[in-house]
């Protein structure tokens, strides 16, 4: 089913525009400077491809519908290596197909953005209905040890701003960044006021501050991740998915020390910057005795509950990770020290609640609540989970 698409975002006026989540991702990508998209149509992500097939050529960019999702992310890696900011978008089954090249992009340190608009699954599952079943696939879907950055929008506005953020992080840390949207957020329209074009921080890819023949001798450190020159430059770079010597870039699969150095570096270059990368929204956590840990579209239901209960004087707060990976350990630590119960509602069965439980380390009770029927968890369902935690409250009045 094709949906009507709104006209391009007017640049001059700053009044609210009605935008679909997927359209907002597309416009955010253009605002971030992305000029290349390659992918394969799949519900419920297709509008991102449809909008970009129209918008990218208008701004001098390139849209290619590839033969499958593997080719989509492969072409994105190629375009990025040639110096162009690039993205692809997909949903569950396509995200599975992309995992091989997400691993390649991680290993070869290629900045790119992968949008996964989550739907019910496994397999074809519920193509038009939302789910959050890919949060662990985003973390562990590709093979081998690796780091990952994944962002979860809860609104159409965040579909836009987090896409810009995703490009910035991918350029800064030279790594693929995943956006975990879902069928609800992706297809939802909201009135949003988009930021003025000049007000957004846009990270551009630099060039190394050295001569081509010195390039093999300069090494990125955790605090100074050097940009890679584009293909076809005097630097004549070699890019490989093999284990390589981190200084020269040359493949080296025979030296365990070189492999260990690269492996640890690829992990640490994200974890070392965890505090700068991780964003969490904490709502009404002051004095909260119970916290709801919710992300993506489910966080909206949780938010409705928090507003309602705070108005009644019930001390409930919301911890909403905007960055799901790296896991927001610091925020969970704070939460675990403060509340007696953490409720984790999610549209999967216990995927993040396990992670929360591990981080809480017994300091609070963790209640998981999962739904995998393609329906958004309602505020009433969450409310029913909260009630027993305040058994002394007179719920009849609620």
């Amino acid at each position: 089913m094709t949906t009507p698409t709104s006209t391009a975002v007017p640049a001059a006026t700053r009044r609210a525009v009605l935008l679909q989540g997927n359209e907002a991702v597309a416009e955010g990508a253009i605002a971030a400077g992305a000029r290349f998209f390659a992918g394969y149509p799949i519900t419920p992500s297709t509008e991102i491809a449809e909008v970009l097939s129209r918008r990218l050529p208008e701004v001098g960019g390139t849209f290619i519908q590839m033969e499958d999702e593997i080719a989509g992310i492969a072409a994105v890696c190629g375009a990025s290596l040639a110096g162009t900011k690039a993205l692809t978008a997909t949903s569950g089954p396509g995200f599975s197909l992309m995992q091989e090249m997400i691993g390649f992009a991680t290993m070869a340190q290629i900045p790119c953005v992968v949008v996964d608009v989550m739907r019910g699954g496994p397999s074809t599952g519920l193509p038009t209905e939302p789910a959050q079943g890919d949060v662990m696939q985003a973390r562990w879907g590709t093979h081998g040890e690796h780091s990952v950055i994944a962002l979860v929008p809860s609104s159409v506005e965040e579909c836009y701003t987090l896409t810009v953020e995703a490009f910035n992080l991918s350029e800064q840390y030279r790594t693929p960044v995943i956006i975990l949207s879902d069928a609800l957020i992706g297809h939802m329209r909201e009135a949003v006021v988009l930021p003025e074009p000049g007000t957004l921080r846009i990270a551009e890819r630099g060039t190394p501050d050295c001569e081509p023949d010195e390039y093999d001798t300069v090494t990125s450190t955790l605090d100074n991740i050097l940009p890679r020159p584009p293909l076809g430059s005097p630097f004549r770079v070699h890019v490989t998915g093999l284990v390589y010597n981190r200084r020269s870039g040359a493949p080296d699969t025979s030296d365990p020390a070189a492999a260990a150095d690269l492996g640890r570096y690829l992990r640490e270059k994200i974890y070392h910057h965890r505090d700068a990368i991780v964003r969490v929204e904490e709502v009404e956590m002051h004095g909260a005795e119970v916290a709801i840990f919710a992300y993506g579209s489910v966080a909206r239901s949780a938010m409705a509950v928090v507003r309602k209960l705070r108005a009644e004087g019930v001390p409930v707060g919301l911890v909403r990770p905007i960055t799901l990976w790296p896991f927001p350990t610091l925020a969970v630590d704070r939460m675990a020290e403060q509340v007696r119960t953490v409720i984790v509602p999610e549209m999967n069965i216990r995927q993040m609640s396990w992670e929360v439980q591990a981080a809480v380390r017994g300091r609070a009770k963790v209640i998981d609540y999962g739904r995998v029927d393609g329906k958004l968890i309602t505020p009433d369902e969450i409310l029913e989970l909260v009630k027993p935690e305040f058994y002394y409250h007179s719920w009849e009045d609620a």
Binding site: A38, A74, A82, G241
Partner: protein, 297 residues
């Protein structure tokens, strides 16, 4: 026969047979200037070194700025070429060289993008990418090292292993027919299709140079020898003898009758198919111009 529909709508002015460039061979010193290292992991007797030299000879002969050459490779013995050549190089995942190259060429059309693949890379795991790159007619030069076997993993059968051949996964003899990669490329829409052998070095250089010079998807199949696995299991483990067999099997295309049956021991070499039609990156550029005109005007 091409498998494209409406091909005539895409075609530019038809051209006759192009004159293949005749490249004067270069000295080893000149060749070495295009190598990061002359040390390879290829087995003694392997023809990959010969094919690599032929590629450099072609680039030198065409006087292309080496800084504008990008070699994208897949996985397997052939993929290792990416580490040895002193161009911008990308060693991708198995079968994914062509879509990565598609992204590179579309993002920067000024680059000469050469895609080095093996037979498994191009026609098994990457078969889908192969036919679609050919259909789009994107200006890439696909160089397929066809040794009819998976060498890197120790001698398993590939889609170009011949009927009856032995490999470590066809110990009773292969029951699957082999692909003719040139016919596959032609059917899928490639606009330049040529075959050379590691025995016929000068011809290989010339068809490679023709492929690089051609604007559109060009496919050069380099018939490679793998004495260690394919030869030992099926023909001979002696590299010289193996090479000589290529001389006997390969027939210049102008001496090969159209009706003749192609087989593993009787196949045409040289420029097999050539036509001109709109190249993909050029088509993208004009699409962009139309979109911008509509958007701004």
């Amino acid at each position: 026969m091409s498998a494209l529909v409406d091909e005539q709508l895409l075609e530019a002015a038809p051209t006759g047979d192009p004159k293949l460039p005749r490249i004067k061979p270069h000295t080893t010193t000149e060749i070495k200037q295009h190598l990061r290292s002359a040390k390879t992991l290829w087995c003694p007797g392997c023809s990959n070194g010969t094919i690599t030299r032929a590629l450099i000879d072609a680039v030198l002969g065409l006087e292309i700025d080496p800084e504008k050459v990008v070699v994208v490779a897949g996985i397997g013995c052939s993929g290792r070429i990416s580490a040895y050549l002193d161009y911008s190089t990308v060693h991708t995942a198995h079968g994914r060289a062509l879509p990565v190259a598609t992204g590179i060429k579309a993002a920067d059309p000024s680059l000469h993008v050469i895609v080095a693949m093996g037979d498994g890379d191009s026609s098994a795991i990457g078969g889908n990418h192969f036919i679609h790159a050919a259909r789009r007619n994107i200006d890439l030069t696909a160089l397929v090292f066809n040794n009819s076997i998976y060498g890197m993993t120790g001698g398993q059968m590939s889609p170009t292993t011949h009927l009856g051949d032995k490999s470590t996964t066809s110990v009773y003899g292969n029951v699957e027919p082999a692909f003719d990669l040139c016919e596959l490329a032609h059917a899928a829409g490639a606009t330049y299709v040529a075959r050379g052998t590691s025995w016929g070095y000068q011809q290989l250089v010339n068809v490679l140079a023709g492929g690089i010079a051609h604007s559109g998807f060009s496919m050069v199949e380099a018939m490679a020898i793998c004495p260690v696995y394919y030869g030992r299991f099926n023909l001979t483990s002696d590299p010289a003898e193996f090479l000589k067999s290529q001389k006997e099997h390969a027939v210049p295309v102008d001496k090969f009758d159209e009706g003749e049956t192609r087989s593993h021991d009787h196949y045409p070499v040289g420029l097999l198919h050539h036509r001109e039609r709109r190249e993909y990156v050029t088509a993208l550029r004009s699409l962009r111009e139309r979109a911008q005109e509509a958007h701004n005007g």
